[in-house]
Subunit: 342 residues, 4 copies
């Protein structure tokens, strides 16, 4: 049994981790921290967990995280980097669901996240936890940078094209739409039901923190810097990301085969039949990414549709998938759930 600690369990990625880990046969949920809600039972805050999680939130100072085998950080950006060194030194492995270790370029990270990095020397060691790309490194990793939600959906959709070298890597477009839970469980006016409901808007067109993360991942596959226009949108969903990806084909290729072969051995990437339009609800509550690839009117523009549940494959589920890989469990352990439809 892996003794697991969760730092910052009162947000959506935290409760989602709890949902998945509560039924994981190889996990002992040891401790979950919250500064603001220490002493509160977890299932009082999240009654959905009644009968499944018999813990209360513990103040970080009393959490004894060093006694865990693995600690998840489901915290705002900037927290994990404060505590990771001590945990690693104590032999604890770490999965950070925030962004602290996602960008290898420290200057770039500091620019986009607006703070000084607390442990730049640990960044090179961090493995970017996209199993479909980095599975081997994840097995050995002490420190995982769990990918962002948009970056997961966008990279899984574009990587086969870049790997095969069949698109103009200088002119990619990612038009992505996210459910509101992507904004987190934070009391902010734009995320209110009466603001985000029955409403649709783009945001961050000038620049979004996930842009450098996506570009870093795509560049490592393409072998060179890529040109990407990334436009995120807020859509009145609770969960779900739909990325619509556009590229210019540089040579003729059987796109359907390309994708099917690329993901042939992947449990959590489902290449749908030609002509499909994956729906976000088809992955609701599950760790799957579903992808369809189109070439409208037989032209030279490829359109890839990629959907995930932002809280699962886009966050907590991928984190559990990473843990499964790190600890040698079957990769789909506790993740083999049927999406909730309708």
């Amino acid at each position: 049994m892996v003794k697991v600690g969760i730092v910052g369990g009162t947000g959506y990625t935290g409760v989602e981790l709890l949902r998945l880990l509560a039924l994981h046969p190889q996990v002992k949920l040891q401790v979950i921290t919250s500064r603001a809600d220490a002493g509160t039972r977890v299932d009082q805050m999240f009654p959905s967990l009644r009968g499944f999680v018999d813990l209360q939130f513990v103040h970080p100072d009393e959490a004894h995280l060093e006694a865990c085998d693995l600690v998840y950080f489901a915290t705002p950006n900037g927290i994990a980097m404060q505590q990771t060194r001590a945990l690693l030194d104590a032999g604890v492995r770490v999965i950070d669901l925030a962004a602290d270790f996602r960008l290898q370029d420290i200057a770039c990270w500091e620019k986009w996240y607006g703070m000084k990095h607390a442990c730049p020397d640990l960044v090179p060691e961090a493995v970017y936890g996209l199993p479909e790309v980095n599975r081997e490194q994840i097995k050995q990793a002490r420190l995982i940078a769990n990918p962002g939600c948009y970056p997961t959906a966008v990279q899984l959709g574009l990587i086969p094209l870049l790997q095969a070298g069949v698109v103009d890597a200088a002119n990619l477009i990612a038009d992505a739409k996210s459910g509101v839970s992507g904004a987190g469980r934070k009391a902010e006016i734009p995320a209110l039901f009466a603001e985000a409901g029955d409403n649709f808007k783009a945001y961050g067109v000038a620049g979004h923190r996930h842009l450098p993360e996506i570009k870093q991942g795509l560049a490592s596959v393409a072998g060179a810097e890529v040109g990407l226009t990334f436009v995120p949108h807020l859509t009145p969903l609770i969960r779900g990301i739909h990325a619509t990806l556009y590229g210019k084909l540089t040579r003729d290729v059987d796109l359907q085969s390309l994708f099917e072969q690329y993901y042939a051995d992947e449990d959590f990437v489902d290449v749908m039949p030609a002509g499909s339009h994956p729906e976000t609800r088809s992955v609701r509550g599950s760790n799957r990414c579903r992808i369809a690839v189109h070439r409208p009117q037989g032209g030279d523009t490829v359109v890839v549709l990629s959907v995930i549940d932002n809280l699962v494959k886009g966050a907590a589920g991928q984190a559990v998938q990473n843990m499964n890989i790190m600890f040698g469990f079957p990769e789909s352990m506790a993740l083999n759930v049927v999406p909730l439809l309708p």
Copy 2:
């Protein structure tokens, strides 16, 4: 392994049965029928099932249901009663998720459902599949009338009061709110997103088919006819029923204890702490009913709040629970899932 057939698997209760049964360790999904969609792969209609259900819809004439151990009817009303006798004669057990066997009073059934009953002689044998009331009879049953969604939520909320004889049984009120999936996967204008979205309304105030079903169940507990005003409402949820139940106390009683004791041994009824307000999402995707009981301002009106997922405890989940009881499996087998929140 129980060989299971599903008649009419293209509606919401059908796909929900598939979601639950796909991971049931003691079930072999043998056949699923659809007249209109015979030949179509199940996971083409419901991509959420890709990787979980490797069947196609079969025409009823070619289904060989008699080779099953158990057949679920997830059909419109009036279908199960046509086929049940032949199945029972062939030794197949039957769970009808529609209403054909719910009312013991045939004349009453024929009035509310507007058709002649095809096998009134089988009705007395049918066991009303509310495990919290009829567990023992369910064990032996060949034929289960799976309760309606509103009746499940309302009965579970009122039965402890009637059993204890602490409310005026002649003056009960059930103000119930349902998500739109309760209307089924049928192409009807009032269930359109642009009609039911951002909208709230009562319906069927003059009379609803679930009224006699609820009254029958309550009367059997109360030992006499009850007086009930039942007002259903349509609310812009996908899943969920919230029943707000009102009764007049006839004597002083510790309501919290009464409910806690009544449901102490029930896996799927959760009496919440005093003062709670259960949310429909706290049971989303799960077979639980959560109940809270209030006595506003210490007066003599009791208010019970009862929530279920109409497709699970209100339909497919309860049907699986009934199957588990019938076949001697642990009652929560394949039903032990954490609700999806948010």
Copy 3:
């Protein structure tokens, strides 16, 4: 032209007042205050007002409200009572959309609102601004206590019954459902899209501030204290209240005629044909209350369905209606809009 000031214009009642007043032919919008957003253009915060409102928010200290003919308070509770005396002394008339002047019983107000009242001597003068009840007093009023949203929907539904003395006034039930905008434009977790969306719950069953307000209004019509159980619910609507009201008939009566006659001369109360189920969207954006009255199965329980838009007839629209009455304008001036459906 009436020179109008609005105090606290950044909430939903504020922007709704602006929507209605921007096209009012007899209103000159003179000033709108906001402590936090002074200096910001109104249409920057609310782009829906671009081209209609050419003002910026002004700090309260620089608002010169005493130069207005009428000031609306669209503020949290407890603000209007601080400023009303000075305005009245300066000859300005006041409509408070918050609760400061709604309860004539000061002790009761202080208990429910948890603060000391700043000007109890002004309370007796305040007219409760429900035009269908108090039209004559409103004409002369200097100070209007604009009714709460639930109280408007509930009172309009129950008053005809109490006025006619045909129900047991000691045992009324109001099961009310509100859209999320009723919680205001405040950054609070329970009102987030990912919390309130696809979810339904009761709240405040033990007691809600609108209970004493409703009881006060009903008592004044019934001529005696009434017994009322009031259960509010949060429903995933943006706008709309649906009140389902239950009473015990004490004598036989033609309910349809009773309601039609009672509201025969009212512009903003629409008694629907017998058998109707009014939808919240049928009043979306409009100042109408639609009511249907039922007597299920011919029993002695009367069920009244009453719907309003909580931001219009439940707040800003009623406030404009009150202004129209106070200043001798046609009562429906600027309120004669067709509800937005779908």
Copy 4:
């Protein structure tokens, strides 16, 4: 007063026309037809119109449309073309809100709409009713082809760029998202609340009927055929279209000025300040199109965000705007409404 008839008034564009025309000071609503609902009062089907529209649906055979000055067709495709000639011959002007007269290339129309055109000789006379482009021709027109919803949002966003010749016209992308009312008030499963709610998907990637319409419009401005990839998406909104438009700049230009100048005199196109992200709700219920133009990271990709209410500027509102132009009324008559927010 213009005597107006509406053919096919039971869909969403029909009820929206009624909402707008009911308060138009120069319109006399003379007749509204429905084959299926003849004899039903309009406000029985749409209670939102109670008090505003005192008509019943009339069978087309008894409609005497030739006595109207103007007839709107709010019908499925293929109806208007059957009746237009007779109406024009009778001196009646026609606005078709369907697609019958939108494409000048008859073969192209017949391919995309799957039927033979009934009056190809009238097509050249039809004026494409996008006032911002064709205002002068609209003034004189007998027959207006009212633009589609997507084509309105997309063309208004791209035309300034093409007109100025600053983008590569061979490589445009329109990623468009529509609310569900765009699918019409038709009983179809994909438009059910439980299907389209909490869900997001692309559709028609292989080809959508609005593609040739958009390309025709853009080509007429660009002076040459354009290359456009158009991907529509269904989003859980009731109303609203958000088009995210991508183009490659061919030369440096002040995009903000370009758009502001292009639309300087337009009542219904609002170019928002630099850096804005227009929300669909900011035009809910109104005839405005709001546009923002971005150049992310100062690169050579221009991103235009364009939002409309698909039922107003995308259908009924634009039709009324066209009528106003045709009959010499102020262009914004009856359209000067404040969007409903929240």
